[in-house]
Point group: C2
Chain length 267, copies 2
């Protein structure tokens, strides 16, 4: 099964284009989880438990797990996510081919993530180990949601912006039809344009919620049905730190349902 088939199947089954970003920081999770030997895993576990039938999948930002304990938490968390859901490795890697082969082995072959986010600056040979895995998808950073995204991404080189040159290269690289794009939700105009021109490229759209993406303008312009909206902090930290576990599940599910309905109504 290709990534796109898996995506379309779970989006239909769970009626959801939402992925929850498990940016799980031990300093921010409710205190009721701190008594466990792996508090972050317990926290992730209850979020998955509360939402697995109303989301398309989960995105793990690897920065939150970059230590010996964290990698065990990732392994356990991934095992707990049902097989039909999308598992995105938000690692933003990009190195020489020899090095990216190791990242691909670890994130795709060992941990069994379905997709990875990719830094395009190092070019063609750099993306090769990721796109050689035909059943996996590589989301290439195109326009990011942060303030600094304007520094280089929208530099004009010839008739096109840098991010458009990257899109052109993606089209050239996409022999296995397993490349997607990351567009920050605030770039509504460009999302509109490219979701129309290249509707077969899955889009991963972060920045709705804590990063205050322009949600209404976004959906009006979104012609790509294979999009995923990522929401992290405004779901996983939606309850106060002194919340009890059973209330935590209810609050997380309610917030997820609310966001999901909002996406479904608008898109």
């Amino acid at each position: 099964m290709t990534y796109l088939q898996k995506l379309q199947s779970v989006v239909k089954k769970n009626n959801s284009n939402l992925v929850i970003g498990l940016d799980s920081d031990i300093k921010k999770i409710p205190k009721c989880f701190l008594k466990y030997s792996d508090p972050v895993y317990e926290f992730n576990h209850y979020i998955i438990c509360a939402t697995k039938d109303i989301v398309a999948g989960y995105k793990l930002n690897m920065a939150f797990y970059e230590n010996a304990k964290g990698y065990k938490t990732v392994e356990k968390t991934l095992k707990y996510i049902p097989d039909n859901l999308i598992k995105i490795c938000d690692a933003k890697r990009g190195d020489i081919e020899n090095t990216d082969e190791l990242y691909a082995r670890n994130f795709f072959d060992e941990l069994n993530f379905d997709a990875i986010t990719f830094q395009p600056y190092m070019g063609s040979d750099s993306i090769k180990p990721f796109i050689e895995r035909k059943d996996k998808l590589t989301y290439v950073l195109i326009l990011t949601s942060n303030p600094g995204s304007g520094d280089f991404q929208k530099l004009k080189a010839g008739k096109k912006f840098l991010f458009e040159h990257i899109i052109d290269k993606c089209v050239e690289w996409n022999k296995n039809e397993n490349i997607g794009f990351v567009f920050g939700s605030n770039h509504t105009k460009e999302i509109g344009k490219y979701s129309k021109e290249l509707p077969d490229y899955p889009m991963l759209i972060p920045g709705v919620g804590s990063q205050h993406g322009e949600a209404d303008g976004l959906f009006k312009n979104l012609h790509n049905k294979n999009f995923l909206i990522n929401v992290s902090r405004s779901i996983i930290y939606s309850s106060p730190r002194d919340t009890e576990r059973k209330d935590f599940e209810k609050i997380v599910r309610a917030k997820t349902t609310e966001l999901n309905n909002s996406i479904n109504q608008k898109s």
Copy 2:
């Protein structure tokens, strides 16, 4: 002590601008190490033991350690490197500020690396958590040594190439004088130009050795005395896989001495 002071001090003491890249792959290390509980750590340990008085430091490419066991290997390896030597975290990270703060905490505050390599695509707020640590250095990817480096890095935007726009931003960001540049060793012309124009920016130069950088042209053009040449595979895999441990140390030291002498004669 700033990074630059530390760099200059060890370069002088050990008469070396060489860093060894510990790209240590369990599938490639001599078989004599496989009997240990952590073969990669033992391998790193003996390399450090054999070379610590004739190099400026070590670079750990994090791709080789991205799993639960690997992070313990990194911790142990870093503890074994003497305090006066440079420890570079070759992670090529670059994300939104909130995320990079976590990478900075982990790599700088917890693991106590002296420097990190950085992906500039996401711009100003993305580099902030790294350069806020005043005693640490951030090596920004400028021109990389791989074939794909030409895809975007040398796109011309206005009168300058993309990599030159990145250099301009680095100069703007460098309030704490803790930014350096990564230049692949094959980009001799650009190394010449920028090592002359911006001699205070430490340069990290990979690609000599296995990646066949043009070493002679490189040194003729190198005006920056704060450079570090990284060599990985052609030192650490310089002995056959059936080498015994005591021969391994001798071969690694001999190869390091040879490269070090070659750099010192030419630069």
